[in-house]
């Protein structure tokens, strides 16, 4: 009996001590705190945020919550007792779901007039556009040069035997660029015809993997992983990233994007003030800040996305190596929300089974 008691006592003390030691290290911040929920890809320069914090006497706390779907899920599941004041990162493929769930408060930021209409998705301004990126096929320039292969000009070109087994795509059920690319094909071929196109791609040996990391670094021959396929579904901002993050200085991007009509799907990311915030005034200031020139010009190098603010200028590497699709594919976000599950299931049946 005594033994048991002592054992429990000793062990409990250990637990309590470790708990106490680790939880005390946090000091209470003096400023008020603004909680901003985002996905894991969010990034920003330290001085840009610090400046905002100083000007407004506030501490910004970023809550990174997994990928876009996971982060949005967190916002939806906790809408009764919101864990943040601002949510950034919902994109146009998830947008109508977020609006249906009614998690955002409308806010007509004065900075909206610097943003072209084509990026705005909600007339009530419950979500405001922040950035966009084009999901396009990237190709390995040297592979095409060496093999004297012409660059494909349209999706239908990809069905040519010359490109057999040369393309790797991501599974739309598990990857957001994969889903965006599926949407581009639906925009191009219609809800009736896209499965025939995918059937053709399948017969022409398209390789499917589950995530962008594997597709880009393991399968794509133009990346440092030096895989087998010279074409990959990635972003139009990937070629400048290859130059910026080169190990030895490059004069030319080793890859480029296929930006023909409807070949890229434009992903637009939005910010919104979460319903039930206790910090409405500061939340508004933060939204204004995300649309401001300083944040918009900081974004490209941090997140490899394009600014929506027309006054924001692009960094040099971006201006030189990034291509922006002239005529990107787009789909109505209500249609996406209604059909997403069916599309993904039909795609799975056609391509994977």
């Amino acid at each position: 009996m005594r033994f048991t008691m002592k054992l429990i006592l000793v062990l409990s003390i250990i637990v309590i001590l470790t708990t106490a030691c680790t939880s005390q290290q946090k000091e209470e911040p003096q400023n008020a705190v603004l909680n901003v929920m985002t996905h894991d890809s969010f990034a920003v320069s330290e001085d840009v945020v610090r400046q905002f914090e100083e000007e407004n006497q506030i501490t910004v706390n970023f809550l990174q919550s997994g990928d876009t779907g996971a982060a949005l899920n967190r916002a939806i599941l906790t809408k009764a007792a919101p864990q943040a004041d601002v949510f950034y990162g919902v994109d146009n493929t998830f947008l109508s779901r977020a609006l249906e769930e009614d998690i955002f408060e409308a806010y007509a930021s004065p900075r909206l007039d610097q943003i072209p209409e084509k990026f705005k998705a909600d007339p009530q301004n419950r979500v405001l556009p922040v950035d966009f990126s084009d999901v396009c096929i990237n190709y390995d320039k040297s592979y095409f040069q060496e093999n004297n292969l012409p660059i494909p000009q349209s999706f239908n070109d990809l069905l040519d035997r010359a490109y057999q087994g040369l393309l790797v795509v991501e599974n739309p059920a598990t990857s957001s660029p994969g889903l965006a690319f599926l949407m581009a094909t639906i925009a191009e071929f219609g809800t009736e015809g896209y499965l025939d196109f995918w059937q053709g791609l399948k017969e022409n040996g398209v390789v499917v993997v589950n995530d962008w990391e594997t597709a880009y670094y393991t399968n794509f021959s133009g990346s440092s992983g030096q895989g087998q396929q010279p074409m990959v579904v990635s972003y139009s901002s990937s070629p400048p990233a290859e130059v910026i993050f080169a190990e030895t200085k490059l004069d030319e991007a080793p890859t480029a994007s296929l930006v023909g009509e409807n070949m890229c799907f434009r992903q637009i990311e939005f910010v919104g003030i979460l319903k039930g915030t206790q910090n409405r005034a500061t939340a508004e200031k933060f939204v204004d800040f995300m649309l401001s020139q300083s944040f918009q010009e900081d974004m490209p190098m941090q997140m490899f996305v394009f600014p929506v603010n027309q006054n924001a200028s692009l960094p040099e590497a971006f201006a030189t190596y990034a291509q922006i699709a002239d005529k990107p594919a787009s789909l109505d976000s209500n249609l996406i929300s209604a059909e997403r599950e069916n599309w993904v299931e039909a795609w799975t049946e056609t391509v994977l089974r």
Binding site: L11, F94, W212, S223, Q226, A246, F304
Partner: protein, 569 residues
């Protein structure tokens, strides 16, 4: 909560005290969040109305999940048992190193492991390149990636260490005299295993089977990254439904199915495991292991060491090499391979080139990872020791608690993670400001490993030892300190290492809990891999190499620990 008046087994209230901390911990940090998710899924489901077509979505992933888990477990044992035997019975150079090596897979992010297997066995990997140039082939002869074989290979890669540690640990304490006696009486080696070793090792073997099976059963990243899109386990399906289709009711239903299956399995396990255990004098492992004598033994040991090197070293070593290689010049001008050795990736790790707010200094990431892992070890060891002691005391509670303890290992990480978000949203325990939730979540998964490693060791101690010590006047505390603790020392070490590696390898539920101010190494690796460019790829590999070396070293040092006074018993 646990007041059953009808229950009067002898000494039972003491067991109840032992159970108290583990029960409270599980109730608060496991059942509470889990039920919150199920409740939410149920609410959403009853609002939207669950269609019957949902039931069609259950069978295919469930049958595949079971099928691949059964296959993986069998193969893991075919590979692991001979290795456990060699580790338990022979003394040879490099043994300690190999022991560390087999634990490395546990701590490596799957994305890195998958890249390693690709560099080794992929279409452009070493093996295929070699075969192509030797036999002048047009196509890579080995096409293993994105097949069931790749999933099985990865599961063997991850789980062999469980068999080696759990079974090998018990084997090392068996007196070899029995085997020798049986052999000299003419029994074949197979007969010796069947009639002597297996019955004595049965509790450990069963425990290892359960752990390996549950690990494979809830496999997630391996299926996604090694199996490719053709394969989906329940866990993968739950992830897709919950986080990509935002279909919580279906996800909830699937995780309920997963949970019920886990419960049935663990209940079955504890039923089988209740058979009486023969308690024999445990031997000091150092005394039992012997140098290699005959040529046959030599061949066996050399063969096994060689196959271990192939299985564990080759997939990882190519990544280590790659983290020192400059390969940029290959691109752009094909044919002009100008690779060279470089430290650029390692240097770059320490530079916040883009002044990013989320830049992760490698030392900090390492520190955070290690601190989280150590706290996980403390929580899991304390609770696991209490639970394992309680379990060894044959009371009625065991029938209930034994399966419950194993549940976290068979629970969907996504479901549990969502539950954490739902439940812990106000001070003092708030996911936004309570960093301890991360090691707590890790400890939930580590706890089953700790219990399953310790419990067979505890029941193997002959009661007569404790009785003799008590008769000679030792207090119960002294009995524990002098008898149980030295015998259990190795099992405690082994289970502590499990908890350590489980935590370092990160586990799904923590993606919801990760904090930008306390980044860990796996988070840093994913951060690099999520953007294109040679420097990012190189830094991810450099970071993985650091993780591998530092954690391998710390495990090596812990392995070398010896009890100061007691060496044999």
């Amino acid at each position: 909560m646990i007041k059953s008046p009808s229950w009067k087994a002898k000494g039972s209230w003491k067991s109840l005290l032992l159970w108290l901390a583990p029960i409270l911990f599980l109730t608060f940090f496991y059942f509470q969040p889990l039920l919150a998710t199920f409740k939410m899924a149920w609410q959403v489901g009853s609002n939207q109305g669950l269609t019957t077509s949902v039931f069609n979505k259950i069978w295919a992933p469930l049958s595949f999940t079971i099928w691949q888990a059964v296959l993986s477990t069998i193969i893991t044992f075919l590979v692991g048992l001979p290795m456990a035997y060699v580790f338990a019975r022979f003394r040879f150079a490099g043994k300690a190193f190999l022991k560390v090596l087999v634990t490395i897979p546990f701590i490596m992010p799957t994305v890195v492991v998958a890249a390693g297997f690709n560099a080794f066995l992929g279409p452009k990997g070493w093996v295929n390149s070699l075969l192509i140039s030797v036999f002048d082939l047009g196509q890579p002869p080995i096409q293993i990636l994105n097949t069931l074989a790749a999933i099985l290979l990865a599961h063997v890669f991850y789980n062999t260490s469980v068999v080696i540690r759990v079974v090998g640990g018990a084997w090392a304490k068996l007196d070899p005299k029995m085997e020798q006696a049986a052999r000299s009486l003419g029994a074949s080696p197979w007969k010796v295993f069947q009639r002597i070793n297996f019955p004595l090792l049965r509790p450990s073997i069963l425990a290892a089977i359960l752990l390996v099976f549950l690990f494979d059963f809830t496999s997630f990243a391996v299926i996604l990254l090694m199996g490719g899109p053709q394969f989906a386990t329940l866990e993968v399906e739950i992830y897709i439904q919950a986080l990509h289709l935002l279909n919580l009711p279906t996800a909830g239903l699937l995780s309920a199915v997963q949970l019920v299956f886990t419960l049935l399995l663990t209940a079955g396990y504890s039923l089988i495991n209740r058979r009486r255990v023969v308690r024999l004098t445990p031997r000091d492992p150092d005394e039992v292991e012997k140098p290699i004598q005959t040529a046959g033994q030599k061949m066996m040991v050399v063969g096994l060491v060689f196959s271990m090197l192939v299985l564990f070293v080759l997939p990882l070593i190519s990544l280590v090499f790659r983290s020192f290689l400059r390969l940029d010049a290959v691109r752009g001008e094909r044919g002009m391979v100008q690779s060279g050795v470089t430290l650029a990736y390692y240097q770059e790790l320490f530079i916040n080139r883009r002044q990013s707010l989320f830049y992760v200094p490698p030392i900090d990431a390492l520190k955070n990872s290690l601190v989280f892992a150590l706290i996980t070890v403390v929580i899991a060891l304390v609770l696991g020791l209490l639970a394992a002691i309680a379990l060894s005391r044959k009371t009625n509670w065991n029938r209930l608690m034994d399966p419950i303890l194993m549940l976290p290992l068979g629970t969907s990480a996504v479901t549990l993670g969502l539950g954490f978000i739902l439940v812990f949203n106000r001070p003092p325990i708030d996911v936004r400001s309570f960093p301890l939730l991360i090691p707590i979540a890790h400890a939930l998964v580590a706890l089953p490993f700790v219990v399953r490693t310790l419990q067979p060791a505890i029941v193997s101690i002959p009661e007569t030892y404790r009785q003799s010590a008590a008769v000679l006047g030792a207090s119960p505390w002294r009995v524990w300190w002098l008898i149980d603790y030295p015998i259990l020392f190795r099992a405690i070490l082994a289970s502590g290492i499990f908890a350590f590696t489980v935590s370092l390898g990160e586990f799904g539920a923590t993606t919801f809990l990760s904090r930008p101010d306390l980044p860990t190494i796996p988070i840093a690796i994913y951060r690099y891999l999520s953007q294109p460019g040679a420097l990012n790829y190189g830094q991810a590999l450099a970071m993985s190499t650091i993780l591998m070396v530092i954690c391998g070293l710390s495990i090596y040092i812990v392995e070398k620990l010896r009890l100061p006074d007691v060496n044999d018993f």
